[in-house]
């Protein structure tokens, strides 16, 4: 069986989001003042409306107030949103993706405590605090060798009476400046590595927004400091911290696709209008082939991303050998990042000098695509991860969490 058709629900939700983007997101996102990478405040009103459409809670089971969306559906929504505004898409991708994972792992008591507020508050966003300042997580020098990247976390949670005292610093935390609940990975006394649910207003938790000047991220991003931060005893989330194995959800790759599509759609519209050499520039071979190359890149990249999403939803596909034994999310990440950056540059070139002006969107799309290309440790690092997988190299596993 090989079936590339979307379900009726997936097509419906795609059309709904596409319409929302055209009506509500683009008019706000394309405001000339907002196209400068140095000054891009989050579109709070758009985020509210997106939440009211259900895009924040999409992955929750229907009985918990969501739409039970699978990974592929989340990816489709993220791409459509990113065509309109990459920052809105990034915030919602983080919250909607995490909601599915976190609430399904919560105990009934935790869910009773946190879910009602999450479902009803349009501004309730989620964040996952993983990276630590001094930790060297780049594969680079550790390629094919056990090394510092397996070193334990410095963030710790110690028992104190009927609660936990958390200490540590986490950086590059997506959604940190707006999140109301943090999933903090820490070494937990008596348990080993684990995840704690820490509300924004927990005493001892502070957030510092990362420098918005350079804008080396999408959405909102910041550093989280936990200084004798106190949380109740039932804040521990079940199960071990998620391990990045290159087979996770490719939602950020869909975001990257959305950036490429925004650039492509702008270039296509312009090529259809702009006349030089006595004809619309799309009728010139030079521009026609350029647009074709952009369309090819988008189409092939989307195939890779959707396949990774399918694999994430159907991990049995690896087991029954329907899927290649590869980290398909990482494969999609590398291809998409490189292809979309080239596509965005080509799209900008179709605009001539207007392609580099800060009050026009094309330079923004190039910048946004460049963030995807260099975020994390870049595609070089990602290729090393794929190479380790090809060789069957297994990194020594982190110590397992004690069974409850």
């Amino acid at each position: 069986m090989y079936d590339l058709r979307l379900s009726a629900e997936q097509i419906e939700i795609r059309d709904t989001v596409r319409d929302f983007v055209a009506q509500e997101v683009k008019p706000a996102a394309l405001d000339a003042q907002r196209l400068d990478a140095c000054d891009r405040r989050l579109l709070a009103g758009v985020l509210d409306k997106a939440s009211q459409l259900g895009l924040r809670t999409l992955a929750l089971p229907e009985e918990l107030g969501g739409a039970d969306a699978d990974t592929l559906t989340l990816c489709i929504v993220t791409e459509e949103l990113a065509v309109g505004d990459v920052d809105v898409a990034a915030v919602l991708a983080e919250t909607s993706g995490l909601a599915g994972v976190l609430f399904s792992r919560m105990t009934a008591e935790q869910r009773d405590r946190l879910l009602p507020q999450f479902v009803t508050d349009d501004r309730y966003h989620l964040a996952r605090a993983v990276h630590e300042p001094e930790a060297d997580t780049a594969l680079g020098i550790h390629y094919h060798r056990p090394g510092a990247i397996e070193a334990g976390r410095k963030t710790t949670a110690a028992r104190s009476g009927d609660g936990w005292i958390v200490n540590g610093v986490k950086r590059c935390v997506a959604n940190a400046p707006i999140a109301k609940l943090f999933a903090v990975e820490a070494d937990i006394e008596g348990h080993g590595p684990g995840t704690l649910l820490v509300p924004r207003d927990a005493p001892g938790l502070t957030v510092r927004e990362h420098d918005t000047g350079l804008r080396w991220y999408h959405g909102a991003c910041g550093e989280v400091t936990l200084d004798d931060c106190r949380v109740p005893a039932d804040s521990l989330l079940r199960g071990p911290p998620t391990v990045a194995n290159g087979r996770g959800s490719p939602q950020l790759q869909s975001l990257n696709l959305g950036i490429g599509r925004a650039a492509y759609e702008a270039a296509l519209d312009y090529a259809d209008l702009r006349v030089q050499g006595g004809r619309r520039i799309i009728e010139h071979q030079a521009i026609g082939t350029k647009l074709a190359e952009i369309a090819i890149k988008l189409e092939v990249a989307r195939n890779a991303v959707w396949k990774a999403a399918f694999a994430c939803d159907h991990p049995d596909g690896y087991a029954d050998r329907s899927l290649a034994d590869l980290p398909l999310q990482t494969v999609a990440e590398v291809f998409t990042a490189e292809a979309i950056f080239e596509a965005a540059k080509d799209a900008a070139e179709c605009f001539g000098a207007m392609g580099v002006m800060r009050d026009m969107p094309l330079q923004k799309y190039v910048h946004d695509a460049r963030i995807c290309l260099h975020s994390g440790h870049g595609t070089g690092d990602a290729k090393l991860r794929i190479a380790e997988a090809l060789a069957g190299y297994r990194r020594p596993a982190a110590p397992a969490i004690a069974a409850e």
Binding site: A138, G278, G352, A353, V356, H367, R370
Partner: protein, 402 residues
């Protein structure tokens, strides 16, 4: 074959290197970071550079300039661009049009315009060609379409010409004191046969500057709109013949071939070379000073391969740039300047991107210059390496083979 530089060429290179390191580099990032595009400019650096000859070095000696050769000019552009691409371009933009004055203006015009240009450290030059609906159509005019191309209109009235219309994306518009303006003097023939070039001083009645464009890169380099409302220009300011602009600027391949256009090709390639030199130096220094997992970044094969590619491309560009400069000095007119310009687009964009790759996201946050270089390099897409600029060179090749 002799690759050595003369003492004079070496002296220009060293003066430029010192000025770039001591004066330009220290202000480069701060100027780039200013958000209002009208405020990024700095007259002090222009005055200092002018006193060293960097504004006027292309003016022939008999007219009081330094009369440097093209090899010296290429060396200086690259050295200045290594510290700041946009500041280098602001200076060399003056050479581009002083080449044009020397090649195309009458002695009377030279006396009238070169003298004040030489005397005033803040006298900058520019040229207005592009218009809102005429960019590629000026570069590659369709032979059979008289409506295509620039539309700014000039009509003769007695001893004056009356100019009406607008120009956009004009370099140095907001800071220049004298501009060459291409205007349509016959709307019934194709743009290359019906265009006249005028010398238009900044204080011409009826001529004003509109908006200053807010570019993502090359922030220092001013670029603006020009608006002509019954602007009055004396007939004595016509450059060459009426309807003869295309022949004078070299865009037709005949007449003057070292002024304007062809120098512009070398200019962009030489400027790109300086940016690539900067990127290579930054990447190598970063790789040799930053650790990952207790070892220098440089120890990694993928880093070494990136550094190799950056340097390989940069040295190939250097060879082509210096060869084109040498060919200009020996009055050899080929398509090589255009090829060098196209090649420089590919090289500067790949090399600055690789520099970013070597630095990684953290490195870019530590050193904002890494990000500045990729923004500056994107400018090459439409100036030097878009499909029109490449097809134009192919046609030059076909002409020279005929």
């Amino acid at each position: 074959m002799d690759f050595s530089l003369s003492n004079e060429q070496r002296a220009w290179q060293m003066t430029a290197r010192k000025f770039a390191e001591e004066e330009i580099r220290p202000i480069s990032l701060a100027r780039d970071a200013i958000s209002d595009p009208r405020e990024t400019f700095d007259w002090e650096i222009i005055k200092k550079g002018s006193k060293l000859g960097f504004r006027t070095m292309a003016v022939p000696k008999e007219w009081g300039g330094q009369g440097t050769d093209f090899v010296s000019q290429a060396l200086v552009m690259a050295e200045l661009a290594k510290a700041d691409s946009a500041i280098s371009k602001t200076f060399s933009q003056c050479w581009k049009w002083s080449h044009l004055i020397a090649a195309s203006c009458t002695d009377e015009q030279k006396a009238r315009f070169l003298k004040p240009f030489l005397e005033d450290d803040t006298f900058l030059l520019g040229k207005g060609i592009s218009e809102p609906s005429a960019g590629s159509d000026n570069r590659l005019p369709p032979a059979d379409d008289v409506k295509a191309g620039l539309k700014l209109k000039a009509e003769r009235r007695g001893d004056e010409w009356i100019l009406n219309g607008e120009k956009c994306f004009i370099a140095n518009a907001s800071v220049g004191k004298l501009f060459f303006i291409d205007a349509r003097t016959n709307a019934n023939v194709p743009v290359k046969d019906g265009t006249t070039m005028f010398l238009v001083p900044r204080d011409t009645p009826g001529f004003r500057i509109g908006k200053v464009f807010n570019k993502s890169g090359w922030r220092f380099y001013q670029n603006g709109e020009m608006i002509f409302e019954d602007a009055r220009v004396p007939h004595a300011n016509v450059v060459g013949e009426v309807n003869g602009a295309a022949r004078k600027s070299g865009s037709r391949g005949g007449g003057d071939t070292t002024g304007g256009d062809l120098f512009g090709d070398l200019e962009l390639a030489a400027n790109a070379l300086g940016v690539c030199d900067d990127a290579c130096a930054l990447a190598l220094a970063h790789a040799r000073s930053h650790n990952q997992g207790g070892q220098l970044l440089f120890e990694q094969q993928i880093i070494q391969l990136k550094l190799n590619r950056m340097h390989m491309l940069t040295e190939a560009l250097r060879s082509l740039v210096m060869r084109v400069a040498w060919e200009h000095d020996h009055k050899l007119h080929t398509a090589n300047p255009g090829l060098a310009m196209n090649f420089s687009t590919d090289v500067i964009q790949e090399v600055t991107e690789l520099n970013m790759d070597v630095h990684g996201a953290d490195g870019c946050t530590i050193n904002p210059r890494v990000e500045k270089l990729v923004r500056d390099s994107i400018i090459w897409s439409h100036l030097a390496g878009d499909t029109v600029q490449r097809m134009k060179v192919a046609r030059r090749l076909a002409r020279s083979a005929a």
